[in-house]
């Protein structure tokens, strides 16, 4: 094989990494290098330094160390049987790229993953070496996200958590059966075991920090995972049930839903279709309902039809339509919980309403200043001088709240 230069390797190993949806760099500890002895900072909220034409945020240098892989997962471009071109970075090359990009303000840090070469331990060791070199030799204080290799030794995972802000291991598919069919070398129980182990370490380190601020940190930005949508036949209810369990059991920071996307040299038997982007978007919206709007899984499911979220409108609206009897909600009286269930009201708008109504009885014009989209809220609420009246009863409501053009909803990005 001809030797590849850095640019050619980057093209291969970034291309190989792009099916991982996460690029988040938020929620870690605050770090600064104002002391002049290191490089980089983290300040709570991550920064998207660019956006690709796929609408995705580019916050991190997201690459694989190598796309050579022992595994043969049908959905993966890097599977053993794929004819994709292979490349491998040295540890030093990754470090150089990260520092070079960071100094020019292109990125917040590094998201490093890898195909599995030789053994899980060997691969994990290489990933840890990159993070260790950045943190110790270059005193790099930017963000680092490392992928945890399934079945890597616990002491390697422990060291990874020492250097990395976030660790992640992908659950890949919504059900164990689908994983078995499409990723024969992976095992759902062992993946969930690793996730559980990470959760225990993260919680333990946090507890230790509470007692002593000298205790070492472990992945302070927590862990995340990813599920591929549309490669198997699982319905939205199954997907969200799996996600809900991950949030509850393992205090997962984020579950990413990644619409199965055609890849070059696809494996037989997988749908060679355009990725179901709208479905992915609806799943993220439902995920938001579970995490930030206080909905239970069963309530979200009540808006589904034969296991699937409606595609033509967002799931919160669909839920409201199915539960019309609970509306209209009085913005001057309703509690936080009920206000959060009003289509068009998010946590921020609700906080503003609660604060403002201590000063005044809200009229429609007041409300319009507190929410970002007054039109969306109109049919669902009452204010001092506003009553939706027949609007809420009318059969036209569904048409009113269903966007005329799907394209617009489709384009709205999911907050990172």
């Amino acid at each position: 094989m001809a030797r590849l230069d850095l640019k050619a390797k980057l093209a291969i190993l970034a291309d190989a990494a792009k099916y991982d949806a996460s690029c988040a760099s938020s929620g870690t500890t605050r770090r600064s290098s104002a002391d002049g002895r290191g490089l980089g900072s983290t300040e709570g909220m991550g920064i998207c330094h660019a956006y690709a034409p796929d609408g995705r945020c580019i916050s991190l240098l997201k690459i694989l160390l190598t796309n050579v892989c022992m595994f043969d997962c049908a959905y993966c471009i890097n599977r053993r049987s794929s004819s994709v071109r292979r490349a491998r970075f040295t540890v030093e090359e990754v470090v150089r790229l990260t520092i070079g990009f960071y100094r020019r303000n292109y990125i917040e840090g590094l998201f490093l993953s890898s195909g599995i070469i030789r053994s899980p331990d060997y691969t994990m060791e290489e990933l840890v070496r990159v993070a260790r070199t950045l943190r110790t030799e270059h005193r790099f204080r930017g963000y680092i996200h490392l992928k945890t290799i399934p079945d890597a030794a616990p002491e390697l995972v422990a060291e990874a958590g020492l250097w990395a802000d976030r660790l992640s291991i992908n659950i890949e598919l919504p059900t164990a059966a689908a994983l078995k069919a499409l990723a024969p070398e992976k095992d759902a129980a062992r993946i969930e075991g690793t996730i559980g182990g990470l959760h225990a370490r993260i919680a333990e380190a946090r507890e230790a920090r509470r007692r002593s601020r000298h205790a070492p940190r472990f992945a302070p930005a927590g862990q995340s995972t990813q599920m591929i949508i549309g490669a198997d036949s699982a319905d939205d209810h199954t997907i969200l049930r799996t996600a809900d369990a991950l949030y509850r059991r393992h205090a997962m920071r984020r579950v990413y839903y990644s619409a199965f996307s055609p890849i070059p040299d696809p494996a037989p038997g997988l749908p060679a279709l355009s990725p179901p982007l709208l479905r992915e978007h609806r799943l993220y919206q439902a995920d938001w309902m579970l995490r930030f709007y206080g909905f239970a899984l069963d309530e979200v499911a009540s808006a589904m039809k034969s296991g699937h979220l409606p595609l033509e409108m967002d799931p919160k609206r669909a839920w409201a339509l199915a539960n019309r009897a609970l509306f209209p909600v009085d913005v001057n009286r309703a509690g936080r919980e009920m206000l959060l269930r009003v289509p068009g009201l998010g946590p921020k708008a609700v906080a503003r309403i609660l604060a403002a109504r201590r000063h005044r009885t809200l009229r429609w014009a007041d409300l319009a200043r507190l929410v970002s989209s007054p039109r969306a809220v109109r049919p669902w609420v009452t204010a001092a001088d506003w009553r939706p009246g027949a609007l809420l009863e009318s059969d036209r409501l569904r048409a009113l709240v269903t966007p005329a053009r799907q394209g617009e909803l489709f384009a709205s990005p999911v907050p990172a």
Binding site: K18, L39, E43, G55, P271, F410
Partner: protein, 456 residues
């Protein structure tokens, strides 16, 4: 009329000092003219601020945070609005909690716009590295919307204190020498370095991390509006990436397609696209010559087909064979397949009872049928029953109404629709069954005639 001249556009300290005096003296906001030094007002000598000191003027912390943002806004009314808010706060200290108040709403909106500008500067500013006798020097050119350079320097110091950097903007510039910050006058784009070799590597990354199958231009532009593109080296790639995306996706979709029936069959044997693969014994793929002029498409394999792995070998298949024979068609010259490749059934005791496939299952399985058609490229497709009609015509069909009419598939291939032979098996009245069989044979003859006509 009072006139206040501030040292620079976002001079919070100067505003604080002046506003304190004005509020203490009870000067109404409308009686004050605010100016920024060096922006073309009257000479400084005219300055006459009230000397009063509002020792008792204490403002909520939230006001300070808000004012620090609002004062960076490019709107010249910002000072008067903040002054007005200060006056209003004396009457109502909790004023800022009420975002339904028009003044608070306006200030919050301004602060939000400034906050976004600050964030976008942190995101989209790009340094270019140069070298001089003191080592590397990182220089950026940026065009902010508001007066945010000074307030944003803290971020760049916290992040890049160990490197020398300069940020040039049209209004003012900032230079960090590794120890101290200096604010310099505005600059021009030409003052910044015109290139950096690392940008080519960054562009490679930008192009490679983009997934052409997920094109979402609006989402990109909502977060990275075009006004920033001029100063983003990677943005020049966007038009080409967008233009080439559909072709790249088409190539990916076509890339894995089998070109021979043998390879396609092998792929289909491992199909798990829909749940039917679970209970079924095996995939039942089509069979016949790859260059067959006539393709016959049924619904799905039945009990016998599922066990033997071949299409049309059960009772309906045997009936089809005898009818083909009557019509003078050699089955060995026909490509015979089904709309759905797995047997769908319901267990009743130990019997597996046929169930019609759902539209979703038909749609999913079209993945295989379409490829079979692409390889065989028949002159005519004969559809047996409603499921086959739905699979090939892409819509619900009424067999009784459309039977025997010349149809064409969406790609233009001529097609005929008739009943499924299993329908003939279900007719109990022998005379009626015989009559229906004759009609079916006539349909087969008609198909054969059309194939022959196509040849001529």
């Amino acid at each position: 009329m009072h006139r206040v001249v501030l040292a620079y556009a976002s001079d919070m300290e100067g505003f604080r000092r002046a506003a304190r005096g004005l509020v203490a003296a009870g000067v109404p906001p409308a009686a004050v003219i605010w100016e920024v030094a060096g922006s073309g007002g009257l000479p400084l000598a005219d300055e006459a601020g009230p000397a009063g000191d509002a020792a008792g003027l204490r403002v909520p912390r939230r006001f300070v945070e808000l004012a620090e943002k609002v004062i960076c806004h490019r709107d010249p009314a910002r000072f008067a609005l903040l002054h007005e808010a200060l006056c209003a706060l004396r009457g109502n200290r909790a004023l800022l909690d009420d975002r339904a108040d028009p003044l608070v709403h306006r200030l919050e909106t301004m602060a939000k716009s400034v906050g976004r500008d600050i964030h976008k500067m942190r995101a989209f500013l790009r340094f270019r590295a140069t070298d001089d006798e003191d080592g590397p020097h990182y220089v950026a050119w940026f065009e902010p919307e508001h007066h945010i350079v000074r307030t944003n320097c803290g971020f760049f110091i916290r992040r890049f204190a160990s490197q020398r950097w300069t940020i040039l903007t049209p209004q003012e510039s900032a230079h960090w020498d590794g120890r101290a910050l200096s604010i310099l006058p505005g600059a021009a784009r030409a003052d910044a370095p015109s290139e950096d070799p690392v940008e080519a590597i960054w562009k490679t990354y930008f192009a490679s991390i983009f997934n052409p199958a997920r094109l979402k231009l609006k989402a990109m532009q909502a977060e990275m509006p075009k006004k920033y593109w001029a100063n983003l080296p990677e943005a020049e790639l966007i038009p080409d990436l967008v233009r080439e995306a559909p072709a790249r996706v088409a190539a990916m979709l076509a890339g894995g397609r089998a070109t021979t029936l043998a390879r396609l069959r092998e792929e289909a044997l491992g199909c798990t696209l829909c749940p039917l693969h679970g209970p079924a014994t095996q995939t039942v793929f089509g069979e016949g010559p790859a260059d067959a002029p006539l393709m016959i498409v049924g619904e799905q394999p039945g009990d016998q087909e599922d066990l033997q792995g071949r299409p049309f070998v059960g009772p309906a298949g045997q009936l089809l064979d005898s009818c083909l024979c009557d019509a003078g068609i050699d089955r060995a010259q026909v490509y015979v397949t089904n709309a759905v490749k797995h047997f769908r059934f319901e267990l009743r005791g130990r019997r597996r009872i046929h169930q019609s496939p759902s539209p979703a299952e038909i749609e999913t399985c079209r993945w295989w049928l379409d490829q079979e058609r692409a390889i065989v490229a028949p002159r005519l497709v004969l559809m047996l029953g409603g499921s086959a009609g739905r699979a090939l015509l892409g819509r619900a069909v009424a067999v009784t109404r459309e039977r025997g009419r010349p149809l064409s598939l969406p790609d233009g291939t001529p097609a005929l629709l008739t009943v499924h032979p299993s329908y003939l098996l279900r007719i109990e009245n022998p005379a009626a069954a015989e009559a229906e069989r004759a009609r079916f044979v006539a349909d087969l003859r008609a198909a054969q005639a059309l194939v022959g006509a196509g040849r001529a």
